[in-house]
Symmetry: D2
Subunit: 106 residues, 4 copies
């Protein structure tokens, strides 16, 4: 996935619609958590097992919500000067330190 290209397309999309005044990181964070909750809504009444076996309609819906959250993350990062790929690598390193693997497992 070409993150910078996506971020540029999102910037152009917002500029063409004159949305920039609304797109503060604060507002984008709010919009992001709204989409995150719409993703949660898909699963709220499902059993754990049902959540592992979505039908095609729900899987497509899930794809839309994943995309919505992701696109807001990309915009928050772009507006805040965060390098997503570096942040992901740093986080993976932190996680490996925080949750050491049992001996012999990796």
């Amino acid at each position: 996935m070409d993150i910078e290209n996506l971020q540029q397309r999102l910037r152009d999309f917002a500029a063409a619609r004159q949305w920039q005044p609304y797109q503060t990181p604060k507002n984008l964070a709010m919009a992001m958590v709204v989409e995150a909750a719409e993703l949660v809504e898909i699963f709220q009444w499902l059993t754990p097992e049902e959540s592992q076996n979505l039908d095609a309609a729900r899987r497509e819906h899930l794809g839309e919500e994943i995309a919505d959250v992701l696109l807001y993350l990309l915009q928050i990062a772009a507006h805040s000067g965060v390098d997503i790929e570096a942040a992901v690598e740093r986080k993976l390193t932190l996680n490996a330190r925080k949750y050491p693997a049992p001996a012999g497992s990796d």
Copy 2:
């Protein structure tokens, strides 16, 4: 960003810690919205202007929360058979249809 590579690393990380029984899409969605709210928390008492001018410590914190949300999105997609890049392109097409640009703007 190499999404499949990241998804494989996350799968190996979880397997080494025997976390698979916990990682249903339902549970991962809950974990994702928790991280999304931690991102919101960074901005909750800031003015719109302050949210546009994070200091270095907050920017680093923001990078961690963006990474946390993103890593859960990748896992939800992997466990549910969602192709993230295709979902993103489909969503961008839907958005362009839903919010037509003013004439002459793009």
Copy 3:
């Protein structure tokens, strides 16, 4: 507000619709955060000032979302054996300890 009466009415409402199997605290917590995000959605693109001056339609919408979140809180508490009024008093005491008032202010 008569909390126990509301909790009884919610219990009867769910029972009449045979919703009990779905109403685990885990699922109710998911439903609650979804409603919480719908409340956030009302404010996401508003300036701080606009958020202080909602028109009648938005105020009515806000009332619905407040009620939705509250009704799920009441159900989570009922299903988990939490005494809400006691929890609120305990929390207010904790907050007063955590954030001491400046001398002479209260």
Copy 4:
């Protein structure tokens, strides 16, 4: 629960700490969803059955998070001119219309 009394105590608490400038409905909504997600976090890795049988420590933690969300709801309502009890009754009426009970059940 005496809602107006609680709202007055919350107003006094905020005033004594000079928090009023931060307490726009927009900011309070953000803080509310953060607490809602902290409530979700309690349940994220639990099975549905485990969520129905919290131990004493988790039940106390749950009480704190319920109180946190509720106290922000009360503040949002107070700052926005929403009458919570009227909103709850209206919502219960709407729900009864939206989800009619099967014949003979209530």
